[in-house]
Symmetry: C2
Subunit: 745 residues, 2 copies
């Protein structure tokens, strides 16, 4: 392969580095733009007694005020129709939207917001899922039974939005056959995606009532569908123009401020822009779901896992939103990348009075791995087994199944990935040093693929253009370009890929779930292969040759063995315009199911300061099974980024609530891992072409965030002998645990 | 058919009537825009001795000055590479581009233009093709032999850009067999398309060197290719975003000011807008080619045409541009819609010192029809035959061939169209009145189709979106929507069609030649049919039925005879996203050849004021063979518009030159037919589904302008007995002819 497999710079790099790229808040039109602001509830749970916006409407400079009255009375939701865009009877989280205003400037909009008077009757609230699920807890949705929901939404009761039990084998028998049984509880708090760009939107509504929305989103077709649902419009009356996006990590898939902007634009007749402050984004966007995890694992003394029971309680937030995505994923991942004959998984998704939680890079993955892989470490130590050996003994192999994995697993390289990390880290050769420890953990991820379509056209000069609506968060369009270049025998510079908007793009999958490239890449590759066939068909007529005798290579098509008897692709492009078949173009659709594990194996060395409890990450080795690396540069960047993001979740990050309000919604108080904190991440790719990705590519964006908290927790234990079971592993917790241990020891 | 055949309002009507539509000069960006102006030559033909732009460059507010030095030294041209964008050795027309400036406002730009000093050595010039062709005439292109040209460009010599002789049968023998021979000369002057929107462009060049150009054009892919050629860029480094277009009529297909805007944008680093004044547009855009026509026709006494020799001399302008399109068309049309055994056509295309002429609604059609149909009228009168009978006797029938028609003619309805017009006008029942006359004429047009591709996607709510790059000049996108609605069994409101730009649209044909709908409509219909198949495939799986048992109708797909056993198209759209085939979408390409005549037959009644020579059009009956009228409202509008535009050419319009400068470049001095001058046009459609248009549609935009000048000239003769053989039939000419006749009579 000539282009696939090359570490090439991103195709849009010049726009990015010169500042030309337009991100959400950068969108400007020639027409004047109003500034929109949203009035959110100050209470986490309350009844609304009255709303009076008359003073705000009369404030000079205010062009529109909208409340629930301005929207169709629609309950919406991807899984459960439990949400109304503007609250009018109850608020269920701090920041629940009550009204929005559009004014000529920000100050006026803020003043108008303050002039809206709302009377509340405050109700008891819950920010913890387990508390919300308690018998007799005040109901967050009194009418939950009457809500419409997808048929997969089972087990609704009280504040339980969803409960599902998944059984494989017989855990009772499995525990009977086990020689030791271990049971531990863990907790992973809410953390935020902390994309550098907060949510932003600009909306305009034209004379025909069509709404156009510029928005940085990972899922333009989701946003289109949601706006259409909320405003009861056909999809063709909503146009979503994706801007460049400053990070998403799962947090930019469902509408937040977009419908408010549309409502204000429609009422004012002008364009309206809303940009969230960082604090608003922390408070009301879609962070990672906090989770209580209980793991009960039965093993033989040789380390063979006989049975595992898992109970997960997710506190999903005030509305379901994309929350069930986490449960769906958790069902697949909860038992880990292990061959376990008997598994029972209980998943609870509870309503809670905080932001709707949703996907965040490997939804449920780091929480589950933290619990599961901490426990494996505990068990190995208890049984006096090497943690690598114990994992090797149980790791999945080709053809195994794990719960909900969608068929026998294919392209499995768990053991090789584990060994690669262990070897790279020198697992066996280490010297022990005081207060220093080493931890290992595995990450389990199943790469699926949603439905996608993409097109390729050959231009009249032999260059090619990819027709796609895919959002590029991590180099996807560059990789699509490489795929087309490889198929057509041209260079990456000969291929144009940019993202079309929802009016003009074929349906593209979301850029999430590590499946954008696998899915879009497959559709694009098929389209390119079809274009190649058409090239040969047109050339065969001109060259008076058989299609089967032609080669497409080096920007030319020619007769095998007679390179001079050929045409440039530009000549073919020109010819096609007078050839009976017409322009050379193809569009293809794919749908790919999730049965390919993408395993990550991490080894980290840490040092714990015994006086402060502070952890310093000394070394980080990450191995990942990526199938084929279409663009190794991009893949390495993804792995490194995931590890650094994971380190924040392991050590410092947590959304802290008081009275339902997040009290640390700034980067001063919510500490992410910066480049100053970050170790060098040594990346090792395990490359075996996967069965059905484009050129064998698997998904790469998420797997490497998964094992980080567990690897760090295991290393901390190794260093100072304390086991922290609730994230993050702050210095305070470690210090207290050390003191406790010293006291009892 | 439920949607096709309905006279529905245009889909973009609300944007148009509310003024929301963005035309060329309306484009605004959020970033500041510079105003560009072009320095054109004051001489029709001169050598450039020196160019000094230093003073202009130093003028405060000027951001860029460009000349030939700023562009690659490239000669370009669609047929002949005879043009350099900025002249630097010679100028060949008044307005030939020498330099351009971009400044902060129009005044500064104009002042800067005046500061550019150019020294010339004036040369003899020609604005008439016959004069330019004379032996020994000064050469407009001294190096013509060295220019690259397409292989079809034959007969180059002196100022003759192209000469082709086409022979069918043996005219010598034909004239021998004839009983009478008639020979006449005619002249049709340059006329301008007089679109309401002059040329306008806005260009920007990004950090990667990619040029984006907003432009009202009929041919976004031509503009893209031309800019790429002039700047030596790959096609993927040029993006053409077509704006709404205020008329084109063939005059907006090749670049005029676009490259200047790109050059200025590149040099200044800013966006640059250039908007032509009306006078500039008259002077340097691409008007209809002036033409000398000589017709020699041999007939039997019963009116049977035995032979016809035609000699046409087109004065094409300073550069070839799209000029040969006119010759290609003239070759097809010159002998008229008649079955003539012996034909010889000599086509001359001569360089002249005025604007490059090019296509204008039915290129060469009105000029040819004026000559040919005037002569048929003369012959019928001489032979004492009814003009309708004489035409009927010779008119083409199914399977006939005419020169260069691309195979035996299909879907021929010449006689029926002629009879329909005659009958509607009451040809036989008329009463003679003093100074009033009636004329009849036929128009001959062959509808082809260039290569096109178009896509259709089914959205998740059952609406459909058309993916097309077609430019809508006359309701094309509405008709495409009707075609898709018809195929998918939905309403026009359920289909979205807007024009995508060159980066995202599949290759679309030009919107010209009356073939946009025929060609794009076919590609769109095929794509819709493929989408319908995919709908049935997905539904069949869900309904557990055979595809062959399914019906798609009324926004549903269901089992034949069991309407309740079905799915809405929205359900199918949703299902497709989890179905193995993925999103429902298709893109198709077509290439259609010109062998379908679209005949127009016109009868007009006029009154001539014998004191002034002024002609009043009392009544106008137009019949046109349209195949199937996809949208009769749109078809009727096209016929009416064509007739009114033709009346201007018949009676009042002419570009008048003095020293190579057009001296009437305003609507005060160049008189177009306004609504106050226009008669009601009675339109009669001849509808027979044509063999290979979408639902049988033929092209409709051009045919009805063709017979107008001849019909009027024949009516004037009928009224007052004078034959005017050079257009337009001004009052002055008629009055002089009447006086002449009275003198000699």
């Amino acid at each position: 392969m000539k282009v696939v497999g090359q570490g090439l710079p991103r195709v849009e790099i010049l726009e990015k580095v010169t500042g030309e790229s337009v991100f959400g808040a950068d969108v400007r039109l020639a027409a004047p733009i109003l500034i929109g602001k949203i009035l959110g509830s100050p209470h986490a749970h309350a009844r609304i007694k009255s709303i009076d916006a008359r003073k705000a409407e009369r404030l000079p400079g205010v062009k529109a005020v909208v409340t629930a009255q301005d929207l169709p009375p629609v309950k919406y939701g991807r899984f459960v129709r439990d949400e109304e865009y503007f609250a009018h009877k109850k608020v269920r989280l701090v920041g629940d939207k009550i009204a929005a205003v559009a004014a000529i400037d920000e100050e006026t909009a803020e003043e108008a917001i303050k002039l809206i008077k709302v009377e509340y009757e405050v109700l008891p609230h819950f920010t913890d899922g387990v508390e919300a699920m308690r018998e007799g807890a005040a109901l967050i949705h009194e009418e939950y039974d009457q809500y419409q929901a997808l048929s997969m939404v089972e087990g609704r009761k009280g504040n339980i939005c969803y409960h599902k039990q998944t059984v494989q084998g017989d855990t009772n028998r499995g525990f009977q056959e086990a020689e030791r049984i271990f049971e531990h509880s863990f907790y992973a708090p809410m953390v935020h995606q902390t994309y550098i760009e907060p949510h932003a939107v600009l909306a305009r509504v034209d004379a025909s009532g069509k709404a156009t929305v510029w928005v940085p989103t990972q899922a333009q077709f989701f946003i289109r569908a949601s706006i259409a649902e909320i405003f009861q419009l056909p999809l063709i009356k909503v146009r979503v123009i994706p801007t460049e996006i400053g990070g998403g990590f799962g947090g930019k898939m469902l509408p937040t401020i977009e419908p408010a902007a549309v409502a204000l634009a429609r009422k004012s007749g002008m364009a309206v822009q809303i940009v969230m402050s960082r604090a608003e984004d922390f408070q009301v966007a879609n962070p990672r779901t906090p989770c209580h995890l209980r793991y009960k694992t039965g093993v033989k003394l040789d380390g063979t896992i006989m049975a595992r029971e898992v109970e997960l309680v997710f506190g999903t937030g005030a509305y379901c939103g994309n929350g069930l995505v986490i449960c769906q994923r958790a069902e697949m991942l909860a038992s880990g990348p292990y061959r376990i004959p008997n598994v029972k998984i209980d998943l609870f998704c509870a309503y809670t009075n905080h932001a709707n939680c949703g996907p965040y890079r490997a939804p449920s993955g780091p929480q589950i791995s933290f619990a599961s892989e901490s426990q494996i470490d505990i068990i190995a130590r208890e049984l006096n087994l090497d943690p690598v050996e114990m994992r090797l003994k149980n790791a999945i192999e080709e053809g195994d199944t794990t719960p909900a994995c969608g068929g026998p697993l294919k392209s499995v390289h768990a053991k090789e990935t584990l060994l690669k990390a262990a070897e790279a880290a020198g697992w066996k050769e280490r010297r022990r040093e005081k207060n220093r420890g080493r931890g290992i953990a595995l990450g389990y991820w199943l790469v699926g693929g949603m439905a996608s379509s993409a097109g390729v056209k050959l231009n009249e000069d032999g260059t090619a253009t990819v027709m796609t609506g895919v959002i590029d968060l991590s180099g996807t369009v560059t990789s699509l370009g490489q795929i087309v270049a490889e198929v057509l025998g041209v260079e990456l510079d000969d291929v144009h890929v940019r993202t079309a908007d929802s009016d003009f793009a074929p349906h593209s999958t979301i850029s999430a779930g590590s499946q954008a490239l696998r899915s879009m890449g497959s559709a694009t590759k098929w389209a390119a292969e079809e274009v190649k066939k058409q090239i040969m068909e047109v050339a065969a007529d001109k060259l008076e040759a058989e299609v089967s005798d032609l080669v497409v290579e080096g920007k030319r098509v020619y007769v095998k063995g007679s390179p001079e008897r050929g045409l440039s692709l530009g000549q073919v492009g020109q010819l096609s315009l007078t050839h009976k078949r017409g322009p050379i173009v193809s569009i293809q659709s794919v749908s790919i199911f999730p049965n390919q594990p993408a395993i990550s194996a991490h080894v980290t060395d840490v040092e714990v300061n015994p006086e402060t409890g502070a952890v310093k990450v000394l070394r980080y080795v990450a191995a990942q099974d990526v199938g084929t690396a279409i663009n190794p540069l991009s893949v390495m960047g993804q792995v490194q980024g995931a590890v650094i993001q994971g380190l924040g979740q392991a050590l410092t990050e947590e959304c802290i609530f008081q009275n339902g309000r997040m009290i640390n919604p700034t980067f001063l108080d919510y500490k992410i891992f910066s480049s100053l904190d970050a170790p060098r991440v040594e990346v090792h790719l395990v490359e075996h072409a996967a069965e059905d990705g484009p050129f064998g590519a698997k998904g790469i964006g998420e797997p490497s965030i998964i094992p980080v908290p567990a690897a760090v927790a295991n290393a901390v234990y190794d260093a100072v002998g304390v086991r922290i079971s609730d994230l993050p592993l702050t210095a305070e917790k470690i210090l207290m645990a050390i003191q406790e241990k010293n006291k009892s020891g």
